[in-house]
Amino acid sequence: MTYKSRATHEGDVAIEATQLVKAFGITRAVDGVNLSIPKGSVYGFLGPNGAGKTTTIRMLSTLLAPDEGNATILGYDLKKEAAEIRARVSLTGQFASVDENLTGLENLIMVARLSGYARKQAKDRAYELLSAFDLEEAARRQVKKYSGGMRRRLDIAASIVVLPELLFLDEPTTGLDPRSRNHVWEIVRALVTAGTTVLLTTQYLDEADQLADRIAVIDKGKVIAEGTSAELKASVGSGTLHVRLQDPDTRPEAEQILTNTLGTAVQLSSDPTALSAHVSVTSRASKALDELAKANISITDFSLGQPSLDEVFLTLTGQPPEEEHTSEENIS
């Protein structure tokens, strides 16, 4: 990939990263990441624990210097113009970075004062955000007494006291219940409507699917696939057909039939009666079940699931090395 010439500040690219590398000792936490993220969108980093999501985000938000490579953030050079970048971006870290001993109100006033608001304006802004984020009642309570969802919302509120042009959200919904999660999603959508570009990390395909315009799948410090969620799913197949047989002895025959009708490899699980296979076109699944019935193989149970993150990963990482190489080329 060629090094992109410096974008103009008015350009429409929020992040352009080239060959970012960060190693901790022998761990290459980020191992040559390239990114091109347009303004005005939600971009998702999807990856398992230890994939390097946090490390990448910390580099892009100027908190950590890359060992190799560079990036342009909102048109500013990551290494040379960190101050310009800091004035325009904001980060909500994976672990709440609010002061636990202070109340929600005090936390927001503090950040507002440190952002340059005068005393009165800082207070007004704090109240405005507390009410917008549904934290009014907890305004005068110490943050250490907040629930996980409240803490998250306060943390995001603290990150947008001055509305940033680019916001990094590191696993904004991990550990939240569905209601709190929806609340955070709603905030993210409102932010994008207000013109902020959002880069979020997640371990849930579902979340990336709901929120992100484009997704980069990250594993072992590398971007192993990139695209819209539709594109990613297409690369994995539209779902997985799980079948459970009455008689384990019929499994080899069933495997043969599924392989033929679906045209994909069939996975045999440790349960001797179960097998599963990726399905790229849903109608093929019913055809496959039909074929099993015709061959007199009795089924006790079947289901067609959306591809899970596990399956995305299995498909993307479980390939032989040379094929992995081709999927890597999706990046550019």
Partner: protein
């Protein structure tokens, strides 16, 4: 945008307050260094308000120290507690306040491990303000401890030979020394990974310096190799000046050495702290 096509039900849920709060406001000008420092000082005061136990170290600690050493050693070393207090109180004052300075490093270390530090680093502020603000409030804490020790000393029969001016001068020298010493703990607070290890290293430095000094005994009674350490120990120099000022016998040389050693500590450790602070991973 994606959600307008795929998630119509969320449109209804969008709340007006949220949109309003996200409407673009003019970006305020960067706060200056003083205003940022004062905001951090305000934060430190709020912390005391929410966790008043934090004042334990500057209230209960000094009382215990003074009572303990006065009655423990008073009879044995000087013959009577009144005489001993005359000698001991300035030293106990210095020792107690010096011990309290260690907490500065612990607070900073906590900010870093808990991630609050990351938030400060992404704000458009003069970064050292976070330290300066905290240290300003620490000086208030040191003053509280000093007042308590001197007040209790008077109750127990401490009668300095010097005047009020000498007393204030003594406290001023001590506060300057403590402020300088705080930078040692902030440096360590940035280097050590956990509160436990920080505590241990701080103690390991603190104990020899406070006990192998002239706080408890006249160094002339010590073996000569020990005496030479005691003589250059900054804590001894400060005790010498504080004692002299309280009793009206201080020479400008004594005061000069105390201020100079404080200054040297600060000149080394303040920039070192700042350097580590800015370059913290």
């Amino acid at each position: 945008m994606k959600h307008s096509q795929t998630e119509p039900h969320y449109q209804a849920a969008t709340n007006d307050k949220l949109d309003e709060a996200l409407a673009s406001h003019p970006r305020p000008a960067r706060p200056n260094a003083l205003s940022a420092s004062l905001t951090f000082a305000w934060r430190a005061l709020l912390k005391i308000k929410h966790i008043p136990e934090q004042l334990f170290d500057v209230t209960v600690f000094p009382v215990i120290f003074l009572l303990m050493f006065t009655y423990l050693f008073g009879g044995a070393i000087a013959g009577s507690t009144g005489d001993y207090l005359h000698f001991l109180l300035p030293g106990i004052l210095v020792m107690t306040v010096t011990m309290i300075t260690m907490y500065t490093g612990i607070d900073l270390n906590n900010d870093i491990t808990k991630g609050v530090f990351d938030r400060f680093r992404t704000l458009p502020i003069w970064l050292p303000a976070a330290l300066v603000g905290a240290l300003l409030v620490d000086v208030v804490r040191y003053s509280i401890a000093s007042t308590i020790i001197i007040g209790l000393g008077f109750l127990l029969g401490f009668r300095p030979d010097g005047d009020v001016g000498g007393m204030l001068g003594a406290v001023a020298v001590l506060l300057f020394f403590s402020f300088s010493l705080s930078w040692v703990w902030t440096t360590l607070g940035l280097i050590m990974r956990s509160e436990k290890s920080l505590m241990m290293v701080s103690m390991m430095i603190m104990f020899p310096f406070t006990f192998v000094s002239n706080v408890f005994v006249d160094p002339a009674t010590l073996p000569s190799w020990l005496e030479s350490f005691v003589d250059v120990n900054p804590i001894s120099l400060v005790v010498e000046a504080v004692r002299g000022l309280m009793h009206g016998t201080a020479t400008s040389e004594q005061i000069g050495w105390a201020l100079l050693s404080s200054f040297i500590i600060m000149v080394i450790f303040a920039p070192l702290t700042m350097y580590l602070y800015r370059n913290k991973k």
